[in-house]
C-alpha cells in the first residue's frame, strides 16, 4: 500500500447538491478519494453515480457544495478545468477513433511535432513506455488500428491515454461492463497498476466481484447521496447489497424502490 493514503485525500467532496428541475439528483454528497487507492462508487441505477462523476469531471456544474483538490477548494466548470488539475475520465464509450492506431489515439489532440510535422517516433516511444508501464502486453503492435482490438485492449488503450498526461485521478465509468472474464481480469489488473503508480482511481461498478477484487474503499450511493463510504474490509457482499438497495436502513427492502426510479438521469 502507498503511504500517501494516510494524510489528506486527493479529492474531497463536501455537501454537493445537484438537481434537474424538480428531481434532486445529488443531495449532500460527501466523498473522499485518496491517492494510491481504488475507490469504488457503487449504487443502483439512478442512484446518482454518473451525475457525481460528471460534476467531478466538469461536464456538469453542481448547484451547491465544495470540491477540494489536494486540500485546496477548486471549481471545476469544464472538462478542460478537470484536465488541468489532473483528472481524466474514461467514459463507457471510450472515445477512441477505430480507424486510427493506438499511438494516434493516445496522442489525439496533443500530438508532438518536429519541424511542424508529426513526430511519430517520439510519440510511438512514449506511448509504448506508458503501455509497458501499465503492463499492457497483449497488444500485437502499437501501430494496429484500435478497431482491431478486443474490448479489454480498447479499455486499456483508453486508460493509457488518460494516464499519459500526468493525471492524478482517473475516473472510470463501468470499465468492465461489456467485457468477458479474461478481459475483465486484464482491466482490473490495469486498475491495480494505476493504484500502484500512486494514482487515485474512482471506479463506477455494478459488479461486486470486481469491486471486492480491486477496491480499497467502497462508497455506496443511494437516492442521490452517499450512505456509506468506508474501507473495503468493513464491508461484505451482503452489506453492500443492503446499502445499495435500502440505503442501509435495515431490513426494509421493498419500500424505496419506487422512488429510486424517479432519480434516473439517462445513465448509460
Amino acid at each position: 500500500m502507498i503511504e500517501a493514503s494516510v494524510d489528506e485525500p486527493l479529492l474531497t467532496v463536501r455537501g454537493l447538491y445537484k438537481s434537474f428541475g424538480a428531481v434532486q439528483a445529488l443531495s449532500d454528497v460527501n466523498l473522499d478519494v485518496p491517492a494510491g487507492q481504488v475507490t469504488s462508487l457503487s449504487g443502483d441505477n439512478g442512484a446518482g453515480k454518473s451525475v457525481l462523476i460528471k460534476c467531478i469531471s466538469g461536464i456538469l456544474e453542481p448547484d451547491r457544495g465544495q470540491l477540494h483538490w489536494e486540500g485546496k477548494p477548486v471549481r471545476i466548470r469544464s472538462a478542460h478545468d478537470s484536465a488541468a488539475l489532473g483528472i481524466e475520465t474514461v467514459y463507457q464509450d471510450l472515445a477512441l477513433a477505430d480507424n486510427l492506431d493506438i499511438v494516434q489515439n493516445m496522442f489525439l489532440g496533443r500530438e508532438r511535432l518536429r519541424r511542424r510535422l508529426l513526430d511519430e517516433d517520439s510519440m510511438e516511444r512514449a506511448a509504448g513506455e506508458t503501455l509497458a508501464g501499465l503492463g499492457v502486453t497483449t497488444i500485437r503492435s502499437i501501430r494496429q488500428p484500435v478497431g482491431s482490438l478486443s474490448g479489454g485492449q480498447r479499455q486499456s488503450v483508453a486508460v493509457a491515454k488518460a494516464v499519459m498526461w500526468n493525471s492524478k485521478l482517473v475516473i472510470m465509468d463501468e470499465p468492465t461492463a461489456a467485457l468477458g472474464v479474461t478481459q475483465t481480469a486484464m482491466v482490473l489488473n490495469l486498475v491495480r497498476r494505476l493504484r500502484d503508480h500512486g494514482l487515485a482511481v474512482l471506479m463506477i461498478s455494478h459488479n461486486l466481484n470486481d469491486v471486492f477484487s480491486v477496491a480499497d474503499r467502497i462508497a455506496v450511493m443511494y437516492l442521490g447521496t452517499i450512505v456509506k463510504d468506508d474501507s473495503t474490509s468493513n464491508f461484505d457482499r451482503q452489506s453492500v447489497v443492503e446499502y445499495m438497495t435500502t440505503g442501509g436502513l435495515g431490513v426494509k427492502t421493498d419500500g424505496p424502490s419506487a422512488d429510486a426510479g424517479a432519480v434516473e438521469h439517462g445513465h448509460d
Binding site: 472515445a95 489525439l108 503492463g135 497483449t138 503492435s141 501501430r143 472474464v181 466481484n209
Partner: protein
Amino acid sequence: MATTDPGPPGPAEAPLAPETGNPIEGLVDPTAAPAGEAALVPPEIVAQTMREYIHGAWLRIRGGESGMLPVVLGLIITAVVFQIVSPHHIFLSAGNIVNLFQQSAVFMVLAMAETFALLLGEIDLSIGYVGVVGAAIAVQLVQPVTTNWPWWAAIIASLLACALIGAAQGTLITRLRLPSFIVTLAGLLIFNGVLLIVLGFGPFSGYPTLTGPSPNLHALYNLMWGHITPAAGWIALVVIVGAMGLNLWFRDSRRRRSGLVAPPVGLTVAKIVLMAIVGSAVVAVCNVNRAAVGKLEGVPWAIFIVLGVLGAWTLLLHRTRYGRYIYAIGGNPEAARRAGVRVGSIRTWAFALCALTGGIAGLLYASYLGGLSNNVNGGQLVLYAVAAAVIGGTSLFGGRGKAVHGVLGGLVIGAIYNGMYLLGLAVQWEFIVTGGVLIGAVTIDAVSRRGSTIGGAAAGR
C-alpha cells in the same frame, strides 16, 4: 493487496495469484490470436520478415481487408481485356498509354479533391462545376484581347476563387449544420449557372479558347499538352525516385534501429524497387515517339502536376496535425471533439481544400479541352471523381482512404473511358460500365466494412 475479502473468492480473484512480472501475460490464451484479428492488422506493422508479411497480407485479403488489391487487379484486368479487344491491339501502345494518362489526370486530381470530403464522411457534389468555374476564370483572365493577365496570376486567382467557394459551402455545412449532400447539390446547380456567366464575358460567344500566340495562353494549354525532353524525364525520375527511396530507406532503418514498428527490410527494398520499375516504365513509355508524323516525345507536365498534388496531400494527410484530425473526425467525431480538436474549422478547411484541388483539376480539364465551352458537364465529372476515389479504395463512410487511392481509381476510370472510346462504343455504354464499376467498388467498401465490424466483435470475445 491489502483487501481482506470476506466473501468467497470470485472467478476474478484468480488472476491475482501470480505476482510475477506480467500477470496479464498469463491470462491470455496463446491461441487467442485468431485469423479474424490477424486479418485486421496491417501485415507491415507486425511482420518481421518478408515471409511473415506475405502470410499476413494473404490473411488480410481473405479476411475482406483487401486494401488496394481490388483496384490494382481491376487495372490489370481492364488493361488486358482492352488490349485484346481493341482494334489493332492499340490499347497498350505508347501513344495510347500517354493519352490515357492525360485523360485520367483530371479524374485523378478530382478524386484526390473528393477524398477530403469522403474522409470526413461527407460528400462534395459541386467540385466538378466549382473546378471548371475556377478554370473559366483563369482562361478568361489570360485572354490577350481582354484582361491579358500573366498565366501564374490567373492560376492563383482561379485557385483562390475555388478555395473561397469551398470555404463558403463548408461554413454552411459546419456552422449551420446543413447536410453536405444538399449544400453541394445546390452548389452544383449554382456553379453551373456561374460558369455560364463567367464564360459569357468578353467577345468569345461563350467559348474562350487557349489557342493563340500569347505566352499566357500557351502556358495554360501546356498544363496538359506540354512535355519535358526525354533526357529531362530520366533526370526527373532519378531525382524523384532517389529522394523518395532514400527518405523511405532512412526512415525505416532508423525506426528499425530504435526498435519502433517498421516493415521488414525486404519490404522497404521491394517498395523502392517497385517505385523505380514503375517510374522507369512510365518514363520509357512517354519517351517513345508517339506522333504519327514528326516528333512527339517526353513525359507530359500533367504527370508531374498529378504527382505534385499527390505528394502535397499525402504529406498533409499523414504527416501533419491537420491531416490526423481529418482522419479522427472521420473515424469518431465525438472522440475528436473531446480531445480538443476544433472539429468545425477542420471540416470547413477540408471543404476549402477539396474545392481548391477541384480547381487544379478544372485547369487540367480546360487545358485538355484547349479552352472551355458551356457544354462542359461538371455534374458527370464529379460523379466520376467520387467513383474514382471509391474504386481506388477510399471509404464512403469516412475515416479510411488516401490520396493515392484517387490516383489509382482515376486511372481505372480513365482506362474504361479510353478503352470504350477505342472500341467505338457509344457514350451510353461508357456510362453504364462506369456506373457498374462504381456499384462494384461501393459493394466492396460496404462489405469489407461489415466484415471488419464482425471481425472486431469476434476479436472482442
